[in-house]
Symmetry: C2
Subunit: 412 residues, 2 copies
């Protein structure tokens, strides 16, 4: 099931000057599917990455970090699906590096100028020979308008490919931002991982791009939760090719706020697409927490609600179960939270119902109103903590019988 999401048509995904993409069938785990993507970058691009904090991080994550900090210009990305190359020890590191070397040879660049990404089952060896054999076909397929094909080639348990694109105009010059991602269930550590790739033809100085990548991830991929688990391979890469001729040296550069907004918009669309494609999901839930002292405590409350299996099963049942929501708020790790000041609304389709205030059910609340808003496919839980100016939004989905079935049956 996918909640109100469909992959954009190929022509809606604008090419980004300086980025070419190609895909191929490498037969990594399943036959007859495109499971390998190559991104080739023209010289002059800056590249920044944000990676999983899971300590069992996969071999390609180690190699990405090494190559990004190595000081040489990044010229290519290789992404395979089927096998995650995680929990694979020294052999896995060697396989990731050999993948880079093979792509580098093809493109006439160094192995350390290539970033590797893998997603799929954990604890199985990466068939680097099959990847090397397929890379020439990826290279022959390289073209600027292959985002749609690439988004399909990186899927695992995704039921739809996720991609997004937009153009903005800054001082009469057009800047393009296009991205793709995979992930269904944030996260699914076996058929692992969230991967996200966004490119722009703006030029962005390396230090600024690093900050922008971190900020973008924090406001998009780090705001979603399907089951609360974080994966071994999660990676987000931001690429700025500079081919538009518009260059941003620092955060005060004119128009930078608009570039940032466009990138954030693409990232949020990708992140929400992953929730909408969450395993077994039937409802898309926005948890909007406001009135906090800082953003972190708003996020803590949002994730307490968004992670609670009891809240998520209640949403699956379209049950406005206030007790479960209040209990989740009550155990969120927030110091000195005064429950008497908290107000909670449930909303959908433009309607919003005050359900809780002063530590209990709102005096005006009628169960039939709660039931009506809960029937929708897209629901917002709004929480006012009543103690400050900060806010945050978390996106999640419900917990259905199908989630259990998908995750219990996956390896059998």
């Amino acid at each position: 099931m996918t909640i109100n999401y469909a992959t954009p048509a190929p022509e809606k995904l604008f090419p980004v000057a300086g980025v070419r993409l190609g895909v191929a069938e490498a037969n990594i785990r399943k036959a007859n599917r495109r499971d390998l993507a190559l991104l080739a970058l023209e010289p002059g691009a800056t590249v920044a990455g944000v990676f999983t904090r899971n300590r069992f991080c996969a071999a390609p994550v180690h190699v990405c970090r090494e190559h990004l900090s190595g000081g040489r210009e990044i010229r290519a990305l290789v992404i395979n699906t089927g096998i995650a190359n995680a929990g694979s020890g020294d052999e896995g590191l060697r396989a990731a590096k050999e993948t880079c070397a093979a792509a580098g040879r093809l493109l006439g660049v160094g192995a350390e100028q290539v970033l590797p990404f893998s997603t799929g089952v954990i604890l199985e060896p990466l068939p680097v020979d099959r990847i090397a054999a397929a890379l020439p076909r990826c290279r022959d397929d390289l073209a600027p308008d292959r985002w749609h094909a690439a988004a399909h080639a990186i899927m695992t348990t995704d039921t739809v490919a996720k991609a997004a694109s937009r153009k903005i105009d800054i001082d009469g010059r057009t800047i393009t931002v296009t991205g793709m991602s995979k992930g269904a269930g944030m996260i699914h550590p076996n058929m692992a991982t969230m991967l996200g790739f966004i490119a722009t033809d703006a030029g962005v100085a390396a230090p600024l791009l690093s900050a922008l990548a971190r900020e973008t991830a924090d406001e998009s991929f780090n705001c979603i939760t399907v089951d609360g688990d974080t994966s071994t391979n999660d990676s987000f890469i931001l690429i700025a090719t500079g081919k538009s001729g518009v260059v941003f040296g620092d955060a005060s550069s004119p128009g930078y706020a608009r570039l940032r907004e466009a990138i954030a918009g693409v990232a949020l669309e990708l992140a929400q697409g992953m929730v909408r494609d969450g395993e077994g999901a039937t409802k898309f839930i926005t948890v909007a927490v406001e009135g906090g002292r800082d953003r972190e405590e708003c996020r803590a409350v949002g994730f307490a609600i968004g992670h609670s299996p009891l809240v998520k099963t209640a949403f699956f049942a379209s049950d406005p179960n206030l007790g479960r929501i209040l209990a989740a708020i009550g155990y969120a790790p927030v110091a000195a939270l005064d429950v008497d000041k908290i107000r909670v609304w449930l909303g959908s389709g433009g309607e919003e119902v005050l359900v809780a205030e002063r530590g209990g059910r709102a005096a005006t609340y009628r169960e039939e109103d709660g039931v009506r808003v809960m029937r929708a496919e897209e629901i917002t839980v709004r929480v006012d903590l009543g103690r400050g100016p900060a806010s945050a939004r978390i996106y999640t989905c419900d917990l259905s019988c199908d989630y259990v079935k998908i995750n219990a049956d996956y390896r059998s």
Copy 2:
């Protein structure tokens, strides 16, 4: 479903001198069921409590804390099922206090000498008049041998009543420890709560009993997780009547270690009984973490594994899914964890299989061995962090389709 657990027969639950119990039908939420229990304590008992840390704590929890710190001897406990009296504001506090006053009048003691406990649905008013009307029938039913009946009267979604009892001999004198609890799904905030009550006829000085209650909870009720949610009403009460004549003034008193062990044993049996009766549970899982720097980090790793929906669905499927277990260890909040030192075993029925070492699958591991141990109803995951002398055990169950069904259907 209940995993290898049955309520002990009434004659296996030894009376505790100084405690009498009585039950009645109060028609609180459902007709024709005993839903009210009264415990009457002889003068001279000490009583200590440990309560939920959820900030939306229920009215009876507030009243318990007030009465326990008020300095007057506790002489009675009133426990109702059906309605939790949580999220009920000032009205709820009044209802809890009126319950105490009604019990106090019956027994000739002050309202502040009575502790109230409620469990059931949240956000509905407690019918204190029906409780007051039924209390005389509880009083008429009071007897030392009614632990079995009381354990049944406090159930909510429990499929079996939980009780445990043992006797120890200290210097030729017999000491009895008997307890009961309710909870299925730790925790189920709608039909809410874990409640636990343990009484001994040992005498224990008040400060020592407070410490003992905290320690006991930490090693039993605080070591279990079904869905990771904590409730608004969770309470554990430890009663020491002193009627055996054996008195413990401080932790160095002769025989105190044996009393502590007996109480811990009863508490662990009750706590494990709740996991075995976990909603939809088909497997009982012990997560034993050792080699940590301190107990807290062992618990953090244990709970990361025990809370992961992906791990729990894999157990439901009898799937030895190492990737999910390793990923959960990898995101546990433990500083500077070196994954290369971690070893993981899966065990059941006296057999133990080394499944992971040095950051990946163990060289000796064969999938068929993992599959064999995972088929059992009782499984141990043993994790050696390889960095210290501390250890901890967490108890949990699997996540099944029935869990979702029970929690999605509950209010409909």
